[in-house]
């Protein structure tokens, strides 16, 4: 049912065959990782110079959707590491360090995570506290302390691309923030897994840094502005990643629904012959196509190095909420089978909701889109205008504020 992609299509039959088991066990089986590496998936997103194959945008998109359809959890793991962290490293780390930091991600020897959110804070960077400070005299490197939470790949990753504050020596006029490329296989690092509703094949959890060591070369100061600037542009890759996960989940749910509608007979009527079901299938088809067409536009822009922030914000909002709707329809079409653990659509329904929450939430992105319409920045004002307008108290009865109980005078 997917559109003919440009270039070669990758396929992940093994990963697909293990999807139910992966969900049940709540971790990605090693053979999935092998299949992903062998497919060349991780190389598609990077130029030959960095050891990649530099595929064009539509080829990247087709490959992403193919993997996400095979197993959404495995897709998240591989794509956060190979695509998102890979791009962050190639943009921000010193080129001298690329062999050490980037190549292992592209080859699949190592796994990376993007450590940005902190336990209570959500997407409000202003409240993040993780800090990098000099370990000793200049040249003796840094240590990082703090906690990051709700991070894809955190429990298993070898490397964390970490957003942190810089503790600056007196006279240091540099930026207040930095990206630290932290080796997670060291004593100062503790990880934990966070149980979750869906995408259970994806490791997800927190990292506690306690004086963890970071080398001089792996701390790259970034201006705070970057959080809304170029860094945000790179994060748009993250929103795209999530949108593709949603599109693939919806496509799988529709695919299963079409198959089921073709086989299932109820009250002597094949499901596919009933207009009520046809309506659900047609609406899902239109919604998925709408999202995919916008994804194709966006990836083409991004891959060409142009900004597509607004388009991807729109896409992330629509695609993730659409996938929840399409998955819910699939559950309805399947009836009791659709809520039985181990059934494909039951898994898709749980996975779909994860995308809505992942990355920035829909409402946060709606703010981004709203600003792009020229509405100006969000204006916050305490909610205190209902009472002054005379709508803050209950009305009197028909006979005024002092009416005697009940009866209408007659």
């Amino acid at each position: 049912m997917t559109e003919t992609p440009h270039g070669t299509v990758l396929s992940f039959p093994g990963t697909a065959s293990r999807a139910a088991e992966t969900d049940a066990e709540g971790r990605m089986p090693p053979p999935n990782w092998t299949e992903i590496i062998d497919s060349g998936y991780l190389r598609l997103f990077h130029p030959p110079a960095s050891g990649g194959t530099g595929a064009d945008g539509l080829t990247q998109l087709a490959a992403m959707e193919a993997l996400a359809r095979a197993c959404a959890g495995s897709y998240w793991t591989a794509t956060v590491s190979g695509l998102l962290c890979g791009k962050l490293i190639s943009r921000y780390s010193r080129s001298s360090e690329h062999d050490r930091l980037l190549k292992p991600l592209i080859s699949g020897e190592k796994l990376a995570c993007f450590a940005i959110v902190e336990p209570p804070a959500g997407s409000d960077a202003g409240t993040y506290n993780t800090t990098v400070r000099p370990a000793g005299a200049p040249g003796e490197g840094f240590v990082i302390s703090g906690e990051k939470a709700k991070i894809t790949n955190a429990p298993d990753a070898d490397l964390a691309v970490t957003l942190a504050r810089r503790q600056k020596a007196p006279g240091d006029e540099g930026h207040d923030w930095c990206l630290a490329f932290v080796d997670l296989n060291q004593p100062g690092v503790r990880r934990y897994e966070t149980p979750r509703m869906g995408l259970r094949g994806m490791p997800w959890g927190g990292i506690v840094f306690t004086e963890a060591v970071v080398s001089e070369a792996d701390v790259v100061p970034v201006p705070f502005g970057e959080l809304a600037g170029e860094l945000a542009e790179l994060m748009a890759w993250g929103w795209l990643l999530i949108s593709v996960s949603a599109i693939a989940i919806a496509e799988s749910a529709l695919d299963a629904s079409v198959r089921y509608a073709g086989e299932r007979v109820s009250f002597g009527r094949p499901l596919g012959h009933m207009e009520g079901v046809q309506t659900q299938l047609a609406e899902s088809r239109a919604q998925i196509d709408a999202a995919r067409v916008l994804a194709r536009k966006a990836v083409t822009e991004l891959a060409a190095g142009r900004s597509a922030r607004e388009a991807i914000a729109m896409l992330k909002i629509y695609a993730t909420e659409m996938a929840v709707e399409v998955a819910a329809r699939a559950v309805q079409i399947h009836g009791a089978a659709g809520v039985t653990r181990g059934h494909e659509v039951e898994r898709l329904y749980r996975d779909a909701q994860m995308n809505v929450i992942g990355g920035f939430t829909s409402n946060r992105l709606r703010e981004t889109v709203a600003e792009s319409l020229g509405l100006g920045p969000a204006v916050y004002q305490p909610f205190d205008w209902v009472a002054p307008a005379g709508l803050g108290i209950d009305p009197a009865g028909f006979d005024g504020l002092t009416q005697s109980a009940g009866a209408v005078p007659a």
Partner: protein, 392 residues
């Protein structure tokens, strides 16, 4: 074809079916035949209003909420809701039903609730008989959520009274009204409600109508330094915020919604009939499961809307204070339901039904207007959220 009883008001304490039925039959007889043509011509028919007002014995649509002692019907809120529902269903004319509701509820109840004995005795009997029509601007039925446009300053010393200046559009009943309820803002802050007779010097009514609800009569009120006596004050000076405004808002949210319950039932009936007549792909539309499901959902929306509305109306009969949250919730739900039902009915009836002779085209237009009055979602949602959160 849906038998009315199949789409009865849902809530416990639902409207007295007899008053609903009587109003429906009267309206079907006297108002429905001319509805399309009055809509086309933006025409208000005084004789028609008089007939609806005067019906004796019968619904007496002008004064259901005026106590019997003052010549009214002395009906309960629930019965009045049923009356307006029947009017909407029988007349198939949202504009006319709005005009009746504005006079009989929005312009009447504040006088009953906050009027001085003198005000009650002067206005209510003649309003109940329909001889005097009371008018209100729909701009002032959601407190001061919309920017106030009328100010009041004390009359010149010695003379006393008040001087009102400003203007108000969306005055339902304006061109034919005998008097107007107006809320004005004081320089120092605070708002006061007034009842102004049409004869008040400096008061001017101009024609100004929205494109919707054409069978209602609309005007714009211009107050050019109108001097009014102290006894034109309705309730307490500076007290509108606690007296007339919250009451008027809940009255609009509940009672202006009531006719739409009837209009929605009529639309569902039309949709059922339309689906039975129309053929698509050589089959009656009504054989298509998708169409049957749509009709089931529309009928369900009617049930749910009626339940919420009668719950809110019933609170006016409880003797206690009605809750603004339930009134706002009912309006929010009914307004969305009215739009959905009008759109669904249109979808099943096809492009041919989109002429102003059909209720569907008029209801589709008027439902949008209805959904934007009473403050619309941008007022209703904050009101509901405020009472949920204990903020606002």
């Amino acid at each position: 074809m849906v038998a009315p009883q199949e789409l009865k008001p849902a809530a416990p304490g639902a409207g007295d079916p007899s008053s609903a039925a009587a109003a429906r039959e009267l309206a079907e007889r006297v108002a429905r035949p001319s509805a399309a043509e009055r809509d086309r011509d933006h025409r208000w028919d005084p004789a028609l209003f008089a007939e609806l007002a005067g019906a004796r014995p019968g619904p007496g649509l002008a004064g259901p909420l005026v106590p019997r002692a003052l010549g009214g019907g002395g009906l309960s809120a629930t019965q009045t809701c049923a009356l307006l529902e029947g009017l909407g269903e029988g007349a198939r004319d949202p504009g006319l039903a709005l005009a009746v509701g504005v006079h009989a509820v929005l312009a009447t109840v504040p006088l009953r609730a906050f009027g001085s004995p003198r005000q009650r005795e002067r206005y209510l009997p003649l309003m109940a008989s329909g001889d005097w029509i009371g008018a209100v601007s729909l701009r002032q039925t959601q407190g001061a959520a919309l920017a106030p446009t009328v100010t009041a300053r004390p009359g010149t010393p010695g003379l006393g009274g008040w001087v009102l200046t400003g203007d108000l559009d969306l005055v339902a009943g304006g061109p034919v009204a005998h008097h107007f309820l107006v809320v004005a803002t004081h320089d120092g802050g605070g708002r006061t409600a007034f009842v102004l007779d049409r004869s008040t010097p400096g008061l001017l009514i101009t024609e100004s109508a929205p494109a919707a609800m054409r069978t209602c009569t609309w005007g714009r009120l211009v107050l050019d330094g109108c001097h009014v006596p102290d006894d034109a004050v309705l309730g307490t000076v500076g007290g509108a915020e606690a007296e007339v405004e919250p009451l008027m808002a809940s009255l609009d949210w509940v009672f202006s919604s009531a006719p739409w319950l009837g209009v929605m039932r009529a639309l569902v009936r039309d949709a059922v009939d339309g689906a039975a007549e129309r053929q698509v792909f050589g089959r009656p539309l009504v054989h298509a499961q998708s169409v049957r499901f749509t009709l089931a959902d529309l009928a369900t929306r009617c049930e749910l809307a009626a339940g919420l509305l009668y719950r809110a109306a019933g609170q006016f009969d409880s003797g206690g204070r009605p809750t603004r949250q339930d009134a706002a919730t009912a309006r929010l739900f009914v307004a969305a339901a009215a739009r959905a039902v009008a759109e669904g009915a249109a979808r099943l009836s096809g492009p041919a039904a989109l002429t102003s002779d059909h209720l569907i085209a008029r209801a589709h237009r008027d439902a949008l207007f209805f959904a934007e009055t009473g403050g619309g979602t941008e007022v209703l949602r904050p009101v509901i959220a405020a009472s949920l959160l204990g903020l606002g």
